[in-house]
Symmetry: C3
Subunit: 204 residues, 3 copies
């Protein structure tokens, strides 16, 4: 089971590395810019989470994450250079899977570290969203998660479902599946219908 | 007394959350952007301080901070939507109180962790100013503290007064009041007379 | 020997503080903006490294770093105000020395903390480059290391040479000299011939 978690984790890392590579391409960065942006996007969220939780940062002793990032970069640059652009819609779907897994894993890791529920949900949001946040800051974009359709909110929903399941003594595997489904479905709905959460009434 | 500290702390957090909400409004962010920006502004400085000091991050086990942030957001959005804009001057006064309290609390926490005086003063600056710094980076503004009138300098002054008081064996409460007053008065003066610290002679 | 390391370290810090001061001048920041930008550039990389490695942050108990930063700022502002601009080429040479030393020291510190080779190389990159990265983010520039000629790549090369030397049981001093030379020569070559690492074929 731990083996399986690790594989899902690697897939999540690879998916976020692809999104970092694509942004680096749009910004016409050089080779190292691509590597930095892809790496930061892929492991930034989990790094901030581990530093705040004061647990060992997850990639310090596991180099397979960098192999996953490198593979994602090579694949993406090859596809782009062959003019076969990655369809935006496919990327969003993959990104949603990465988001769902990262949010739930982040929540779980915080609960294991003895954090209260609310802190755990916030750690899920940090794990899922901060990589992309740092990516956008470095690329000088207004962070995607601060504008536009539901993104981080789906992590909150997933984290709440996960902590509720654990509080109702469901087994971890069921809690993970339910909370990932919640995150995924919300995110798919937000992409399909362009759901935005407004709090201000802006004058027209 | 600890009880009292905590209440002041919550007020400081709430004041900074208001400033984050106002910036999010100006940038026309959606609901989650508001929550992220308000939260980061309110707890960003203390989080960076605790991570660098390697002590437990202050909000991990205390959810009252998030209640204060949420209350501040709800209040601010309600006021804005009723077209009753918060007077800029009032906000600056409140912000100055938050700044003074955060700077002194940050210095105190570093001294308690066994840091030398200079490090403690720097921790006061980080606590008081880094939340706003991250807010401005995310909102793609040139950080307020890097431009314009005295801001972080007032934290340095407050921190120096605090460490001096402690070195002269004054009791903690007196040291806190004196150093907060120092920070507040300097900041008020900077707001009223637009005091700027120039080091370069720019050609006209 | 440790004494000597510390002196080199201080020189590296001072050189990066100068680059931060120059950027602050270009952005017409005030006195505190200069201090913040110079300090963040000089100690940002090492701070991020130590936080991720979860070892005590290097400047917490050593105030000589701040003396070096202050001296660098005073020197630079004095030179600028006398209209004697620092020649860009000289700055790049000094910066290259700082980069080489920081990259190798970062790699070494990570190995001492028991990290695997790849993590140690990444820590060298973080130590050498993250200060400048944060500087550029705060000054709202696209980070230099994400664009233009070889910069971080030279840190990677230096770190790989260092870990190889250690793996082949060379003594630490030889490993340091060889890896610093590698970083320096690569960086000099990149400056002289404008070497860029392209991975995308951009349409003309």
């Amino acid at each position: 089971m731990t083996e399986l978690y690790h594989w899902f984790d690697l897939i999540g890392v690879a998916v976020f590395a692809i999104s970092g590579t694509l942004v680096a391409y749009e910004k016409k960065m050089d080779g190292f810019g691509v590597v930095v942006l892809a790496t930061v996007t892929a492991i930034g969220g989990g790094t901030v989470r581990d530093v705040i939780l004061n647990v060992p940062v997850f990639w310090l002793h596991d180099q397979s994450y960098f192999a996953a990032i490198l593979a994602a970069i090579l694949l993406t640059t090859r596809l782009i250079n062959k003019q076969r652009t990655i369809p935006h819609y496919n990327l969003q779907i993959a990104d949603a899977f990465g988001l769902a897994f990262f949010a739930v894993m982040g929540t779980q890791k915080a609960l294991l570290a003895g954090m209260p529920d609310m802190t755990a949900v916030i750690m899920g949001v940090i794990t899922g969203c901060f990589g992309g946040l740092i990516r956008d800051v470095l690329a000088r974009e207004i962070p995607m998660l601060l504008k536009g359709e539901l993104y981080a909110t789906t992590c909150i929903a997933g984290g709440i479902v996960y902590t509720l399941c654990i509080n109702f003594s469901l087994i971890v595997e069921v809690a993970m599946i339910l909370s990932m489904l919640m995150t995924l479905l919300l995110r798919f709905a937000a992409i399909k219908w362009g759901i935005v959460l407004h709090v201000f009434k802006y004058p027209d």
